[in-house]
């Protein structure tokens, strides 16, 4: 049996968002619509939110294995430039988004918080992977059990490491959150205990 090349769409695979078109929008889309109606952005705020999402520049905070998958979304197959995000800024002062990719240990927690503090508001944080979200498979003396203990996280992306498409799903959901008017996480909640 050989595998024939072709686009996935030719084989009938479609993205999650348009599956079962007769059933209407999915749970997430309905929640986003509900949030939009509840928050009720003005036109100016909508325009600002649109601009924020269309060029949200990430900070180079690759720590471990997830960093390799984060580098591969910059590559040409899982092109993140189509979201306007290929400019990974090294200086946190110029970055909007902190993608914590990899396991954070106690020694690194201080630099992480420092980088987060140096970012200018509004700023968002994606905890990429199992280790950043919850400590992953490393439940021990040295690993921080989830980066939300020191920074306020907007989106957690599961996986070990998450596929580039999974990270992009997380980024797209973050964009939809921002467009819906949800404030960044530091306004909503503090850090976990």
């Amino acid at each position: 049996m050989t595998i024939e090349k072709g686009r996935l769409a030719d084989h009938g695979l479609q993205s999650e968002r348009v599956l079962w078109p007769d059933k209407g929008p999915g749970v997430f889309e309905r929640e986003v619509q509900a949030m939009e109606r509840a928050v009720g952005l003005t036109t100016l705020e909508k325009a600002v939110a649109w601009a924020q999402t269309k060029s949200m520049w990430p900070d180079t905070f690759g720590l471990a294995c997830c960093a390799i998958e984060m580098m591969s979304i910059v590559s040409s197959r899982y092109d993140i430039a189509r979201f306007g995000m290929e400019a990974f800024r090294s200086s946190p002062r110029q970055a909007d988004l902190l993608i914590v990719s990899g396991r954070v240990v106690h020694k690194m927690a201080a630099p992480l918080r420092q980088v987060y503090d140096q970012m200018l508001e509004p700023k968002w944080v994606i905890a990429m992977g199992a280790c950043a979200s919850s400590g992953g498979m490393f439940n021990n003396y040295t690993t921080l059990q989830g980066v939300d203990k020191i920074v306020a996280v907007d989106i957690h992306v599961p996986g070990c490491p998450p596929r580039p498409e999974a990270l992009m799903e997380g980024i797209v959901r973050l964009h939809e959150k921002v467009m819906a008017g949800v404030p960044p996480a530091y306004e909503l909640r503090g850090v976990a205990s």
Binding site: N139, N140, T143
Partner: protein, 154 residues
Amino acid sequence: MPEAARHLRDELGFDFLSDIAATDYLGWGGKSVSGYIGTPGGRDLNKPGTQGFQRLPAPKPKRFSISYHLLALRAGAARARLQVWVDDGDEVPTVVPVWPTADWHEREAWDMFGIEFSGHPNQARILMPEDWEGHPLRKDYPIGGEPVRFSGEE
């Protein structure tokens, strides 16, 4: 011990220090283990009350062992392991003058196990933060971390 190291390097030709691995044997032999059936130390199911587990692993002379894994860069790739046994608080002379690569390996052994290397030029914490207390890889150091909470429980 430095004479042994120099002898290995100069006369026997082990000029490459691959690794320095320290091991903590606290609690070794506390649990009896089973042998494989058919092997000399194999299980004897006829021995009453033991379920076949009566073999204890061979006891170790002291608490810590430091294994120096050496390699001779010649055809045939001869390998040797030099093992030094120490107790808690003992000092081991450093081999940095013999194999300079031992610098960071000995620092790591000090950091993780608390084994002091006398004469080491720069014995400081290398993997843990500088102000960390305790030596993590010892057997009496807890694994740490958090208890996992499941969403179903109250």
